[in-house]
């Protein structure tokens, strides 16, 4: 049985707006529109989408603090909204922008409080804490008040606090936001270990695609409240109709070359950039250019994942744009 089951889930919000002096209009806005997906135990899933796509709304419903308007949800065998407190014992939640640590007290006190809140048996608590302290290098910081920690240190503290009760699912919302490169890598390494070493299921919401590339075998792209892609990162390229670029250096400046299946996107002196579908082989293209033009050098550039996602978001694909209701009007972060 899947650990997370989402079955036809929608969520609408009523937005009231002023229209004239006394009239008020009510408008139904769909933040999430017929979501269907399952996540198996032990998966690490990247959940990405532009602002207002419905990411936070989904996570809120999965954690039970928002009731879906339609559809069915189950997380770790529990209906989240109906049994929120029971579910709370089985999930861990980390927000990059919010802390659950006790601001004015040493880190140690916050961990101790987690033990009591989740009633973690002493030996298990000890084991989990030792593991987190070692992997996140938090040992020396235990007696430092949280307010004196750097953002990276605080983030590591929050990660540890979310895992001390052995949650089966860990929800992460922008866990690397605002962190420097070193802290980012350390957080990613830790999350990888939690996912692969400890078998914790991870659902990662982020705008940092490197997080997704490093950690997730599966990525879901949501836009206008619908899933527009669900699969491996590599498949994203095909879905996003992304293009590779063939850069050719000719012997001398030359008008744009004309070859079938590619178009020139840029010319700079003797150098020209040719875009062609990522799914096509570059070999015939290279052969044709070499046969007809004075070719000196060439290179092939792969599309950046950012560009692929950006194309998906901007709705260049006709399929994604169609049927997207008013979802974009809701900005839930």
């Amino acid at each position: 049985m899947a650990l997370i089951e989402v079955d036809g889930v929608s969520r609408t919000f009523t937005v009231r707006a002023r229209a004239g002096r006394f009239r008020r209009t009510r408008r139904e806005v769909r933040a999430v529109d017929g979501l269907d997906f399952t996540v198996e135990e032990g998966e690490c899933v990247g959940y990405i989408g532009p602002n207002g796509a419905g990411k936070s709304t989904t996570v809120k419903m999965l954690t039970g603090i928002l009731v879906p308007s339609a559809g069915r949800l189950r997380v770790a065998g529990v209906d989240p909204a109906r049994e929120r407190v029971r579910l709370a014992h089985r999930i861990g939640v980390v927000f990059g922008q919010r802390t659950t640590l006790w601001w004015d007290l040493p880190l140690r006190d916050s961990f101790e409080l987690v033990r009591r809140v989740y009633r973690v048996p002493a030996d298990r608590f000890r084991r989990n804490l030792d593991r987190c302290l070692e992997m996140l290098d938090l040992g020396p910081l235990l007696d430092t008040p949280v307010r004196q920690l750097s953002l990276g240190q605080r983030m590591r503290g929050d990660l540890a606090a979310a895992l001390l009760h052995d949650p089966r699912v860990l929800y992460l919302d922008e866990p690397t936001i605002g962190l420097d490169v070193v802290s980012r890598n350390r957080v990613r390494e830790f999350l990888r270990e939690v996912n692969t070493g400890h078998g914790t299921t991870v659902l990662l919401t982020t705008h940092d695609l490197t997080d997704v590339e490093r950690l997730c075998s599966r990525v879901m792209v949501i836009d206008h409240g619908r899933v527009v892609h669900d699969g491996g990162l590599a498949e994203l390229h095909a879905v996003g109709e992304s293009e590779r670029t063939l850069v050719v250096d000719l012997a001398a400046p030359h008008p744009p070359v004309e070859v079938a299946g590619a178009r020139v996107v840029r010319v700079e002196g003797p150098r020209q950039w040719l875009a062609f579908p990522a799914s096509r082989s570059a070999a015939p293209l290279v052969a044709e250019v070499a046969a007809r033009y004075p070719l000196v050098d060439l290179s092939v550039r792969e599309p950046a994942i950012e560009d692929v996602i950006a194309r998906l978001y901007s709705g260049e694909r006709a399929g994604a744009a169609a049927g997207a209701g008013e979802g974009a009007a809701v900005r839930s972060g």
């Binding site: 039970g64 603090i65 928002l66 014992h89 927000f95 919010r98 409080l113 009591r116 809140v117």
Partner: protein
């Protein structure tokens, strides 16, 4: 198990407030200064009208210093956990609190009791000690009276918490609870007996003030320590405080339930 959880919340809150040393010192200094100002005013008043409200001049000055000791502890005009809870409601962070398997009201109450315990020691004891050195105060000798006072003060904090919790929760509907807070704070300052003992209020106003919840915050614990309530009257005074505590905490739970449903069902 539950008690140890909320017990550790209270202890944490106590230690947290203990870290604000400069603020605590400045606060205790202010309480002491106001103690002196009010004492000289009261002495002038009681010189003109001896035995006013059934208080001797000595008892009236003692009333001042007990009031100053309770001011920060009971947080009559707002404060304590309120700033934090209001900020969390306004920013929406309060939703995060729902991820934790804890009772919100009990969590914040435990924290506020921890804070009050620290402030009774730091901002209560110090001014009272200075007052006792500067004036002849009518403080009790019987240990039972002090014990009854501590119980009464704890109930006073609980009633005050319950009122402040309700005020903070209005933020779910009003977006900003500061207006309500200012209004309730001024009302509380007046009706708690902090400025003037309620026995001095005339007729119907006095009668009403004596049964409203604010009198449970300052007037009742002051009278307990002054031994104006003993025996059956003491039991009735504590019962009065307990009744308001239970009623207002119950109201807080009901409103909290409505607020949670609002967040969970309507999306805040």
């Amino acid at each position: 198990m539950l008690l140890t959880l909320y017990g550790s919340v209270a202890r944490g809150s106590f230690r947290r407030h203990a870290t604000y040393r400069a603020a605590t010192f400045a606060g205790a200094f202010t309480n002491t200064a106001f103690g002196f100002i009010l004492s000289s005013t009261y002495l002038a008043l009681w010189h003109a009208r001896p035995g006013l409200g059934g208080y001797s001049a000595e008892a009236a000055v003692t009333y001042i210093w007990i009031g100053q000791a309770l001011l920060a502890t009971v947080a009559v005009w707002g404060g304590g956990f309120q700033d934090e809870l209001q900020a969390r409601i306004r920013s929406g962070d309060v939703a995060v609190d729902l991820y934790r398997p804890v009772d919100l009201q009990a969590w914040w109450l435990a924290g506020d009791l921890g804070r009050a315990a620290f402030q009774l020691l730091a901002r209560g004891a110090a001014p009272l000690l200075v007052g006792a050195l500067a004036y002849r105060l009518r403080l009790p000798h019987a240990a039972e009276t002090w014990a009854a006072f501590l119980l009464s003060a704890a109930l006073a904090v609980t009633v005050s918490f319950a009122v402040r919790y309700l005020v903070s929760l209005t933020g779910f509907w009003l977006l900003d609870a500061d207006g309500v807070r200012a209004l309730v704070g001024i009302t509380g300052m007046f009706l708690s007996g902090m400025l003037l003992p309620l026995a001095l209020f005339p007729g119907a106003l006095g009668a009403a003030a004596r049964v409203l919840p604010w009198s449970a915050m300052v007037q009742v614990p002051c009278d307990v320590l002054l031994e104006r309530r003993t025996g059956g009257a003491l039991a009735r005074a504590l019962g009065f405080q307990l009744l308001w505590a239970v009623l207002l905490l119950g109201a807080g739970r009901a409103v909290q339930g409505a607020a949670t449903r609002r967040v969970v069902v309507q999306g805040g």
